[in-house]
Symmetry: C2
């Protein structure tokens, strides 16, 4: 039974997430009606291939652009993905028609968030994107509403389930990166082309969205530093264990007196931090703010059902009449901050070197560090086997990135040091 008071929903994209949304709308129709105060009704959907069975009452469009342009809906749910192309086209069409949008598309928000926020504001409609970051975890709502009385100083998290699964499995099995990646691909936990996940790009997209919300600033993917997990070895994970850390791929965005910085990199997380215990495909986000203090939100970051839960929470908000600026404040009130130059950024770090086991090696390394005024907190040497190479691990006190890079240059140039090391940052928590 259709009713003029229904919230009419058109879904573009019937893949994993789209299928989850259709399942949810069907399975929870009664409870959604109670909570939304009106019926959330699927009126149209589009996909390259029909789903079996197709929902009876919804019109099917093989062409998403045609649906966005022609169908009679209140909300377009965009689940096609990709930063540009069809996804951006249909979202723009819907907003221009004065219809609201709900999307799970982090790449699109990361690249076009400001433009879309402007358009939504101009047309006085809503653009919900809870599903774009951390799946079922209500982190968008928490930053925009739950922490509305706070200045957020830092937001950081484990935002990519594929990387967290790989790092967790490497630790549990002692196996190396390439091996575990291949297994994850075979199991469907990693894509055939895993670049997007393991090089940190997906995490960077999500971090740029969180930073925009947390600091009420325009989303700026270009300013996010991005390093993935390819260089993390089984040996690093073993040393981390011994030193009381877990290695996690974190996105970290911070606002301080010098401006804002946002970085994605593998991080040594101390065991005392709740992030250290977030394993497998789980996601978690920590926020630090002036009144609320530190909060952590954890849960399933991907998958059909958790993502559908987030999409539908946006739909219920819309049905209930919620209408907020996309980033919590009107677009003209978003603030831009200076970007802290990466050379000035300060962190502690872990460095694993491969050295020839000769007298004087440690003295050379120590003097390279002293020349850059970097002090060592700890040195670990695994075994002694004269004239063979052995691993040496350094934990360095906080220093700026420029000095660190110069020290690594000096150390790498030593004849006794085999390869250029990849430092792993240690975040203060």
């Amino acid at each position: 039974m259709s009713n003029s008071n229904d919230l009419k929903v058109a879904v573009a994209g019937l893949g994993t997430v789209g299928g989850g949304v259709l399942d949810l709308l069907d399975a929870q129709a009664d409870v959604l009606r109670q909570r939304a105060g009106r019926t959330v009704r699927l009126v149209a959907c589009s996909a390259l291939v029909k789903r079996d069975p197709m929902p009876k009452e919804a019109a099917f469009y093989p062409d998403a652009r045609a649906m966005a342009r022609d169908a009679d809906y209140d909300v377009l749910v965009e689940l096609i993905g990709g930063g540009d192309g069809i996804a951006l086209d249909i979202v723009t069409t819907a907003l221009e028609r004065g219809r609201s949008v709900v999307t799970a598309n982090k790449a699109m928000i990361a690249h076009h968030g400001l433009k879309l926020a402007n358009l939504a504001q101009e047309k006085d409609v809503s653009l919900g994107f809870e599903a774009s970051v951390a799946g079922a975890i209500p982190i968008i709502k928490t930053l925009r509403e739950g922490l509305a009385g706070n200045h957020v100083s830092r937001v950081m998290g484990i935002l990519n389930g594929t990387c967290n699964y790989i790092l967790t499995t490497m630790r549990a099995s002692g196996r190396d990166f390439a091996d575990v990646l291949a297994e994850a691909q075979a199991l469907g936990y990693a894509e055939a082309d895993p670049t997007f996940d393991i090089d940190g790009i997906d995490t960077a997209h999500k971090l740029s969205i969180l930073a925009g919300l947390a600091f009420s600033m325009p989303v700026d993917i270009a300013s996010v530093g991005c390093e993935g997990i390819r260089h993390v070895s089984a040996l690093d994970i073993q040393f981390a264990d011994e030193l009381g850390y877990r290695i996690k791929l974190l996105g970290v965005a911070e606002r301080g007196p010098d401006g804002v910085r946002a970085n994605v990199y593998p991080t040594m997380v101390p065991l005392a931090s709740p992030l250290a215990h977030v394993d497998g495909v789980m996601n978690a986000v920590v926020t630090e703010s002036d009144f609320a203090g530190r909060t952590i939100l954890g849960g399933r970051g991907a998958g059909a059902r958790p993502t559908a839960s987030a999409v539908v929470s946006d739909l219920v908000d819309l049905a209930r009449g919620a209408h907020l600026p996309m980033f919590g404040v009107p677009v003209d009130q978003l603030q831009t901050y200076p970007q802290v130059p990466s050379a000035l950024r300060r962190t502690a770090c872990y460095i694993r070197l491969t050295v020839t086991d000769e007298p004087g090696v440690l003295a050379d390394i120590a003097s390279a560090l002293r020349d850059e005024k970097i002090s060592m907190e700890q040195v670990l040497q695994r075994s002694r086997s004269p004239s063979e190479t052995v691993p040496v691990v350094l934990i360095l006190h906080e220093t700026d990135e420029a000095s660190l890079a110069r020290a690594i240059d000096r150390i790498s140039a030593l004849p006794t040091v085999a390869d250029r090391p990849h430092p792993i940052r240690i975040e203060a928590m």
Copy 2:
């Protein structure tokens, strides 16, 4: 500058939390205006004693009832506390006048939530209570909005910072309950009369609110089983460590095919659960639902600033025009469920016995358990010191409470067993 579009706020109670709210409204006035889209303006406050300094523009009422009745406000913020008395009077007055209410008062919501929800609905105003459970953690918003597309099957959490501080300190120091409680009282972390906290009553209030929201049912404090932490000993905590658990005071509410059950009791939490790592005064809440899966939210559960953060998030929601039924659905759509009789409730558990170290003791205990068809997963005996008493620890597989109680009767009646033991439940996680 006052403006007819301002959200006019009257605050009743200027103690710790009231002071925090006034500080926040003052410190964040600009950002609140941006996010709320209008000025959140303090127009009146009441307390037994004036605060120094008093906010300049607000009228002061020594009598909260007079303020609730006479002042010109859009929303009354109730921070006096107590389940009945002045708090209930002024909230009722405000609602009857057609004004919205924001409160941090868990006892009042636990005891009168349904009545207040009815009144708010009748007058078409809002009653916000984010601050009543788990301080800065946005768990009310998450259950009512973030998980709106889900059926929640279980909600459980560490909801009382005093108990968690005591249990954490007992573990860290190896000291016993009474000793750590006395210290917590000296430090101001526990009240002079600690009953409310340590006997689980505060946790039960909060759990009844969470269960009401999670299961869309009328809040029912009378149905919450309640057991505190007085009987947890240093020895129990030490055994928990050895067995791979932490002891936490949990509130657990569950909805299954037989109905709903809600209980507060000390619980053995496996180290693999994120709740095991929530230490000190921190709070955390786990939800389990059909689409979102398991989520965890953690943060500061009490204190002036975290509680003020929650109060103000409700104020910003109101200023932004949010207007939701108190428990997420209209009162007449709340569902009542049968209460699972405690005798039928099933859990695994830990039991520590004090026994005379004689041959045959374990055989007697084992046959008492066998007679009740309870199987043992593990037995630990600390040391052997003939003819003295020694601790024996049993880990029992899941059984119903009635059989467990009978088995404990039988075991306590054995001449070799010194005291009646207190079982500690092991929740499946």
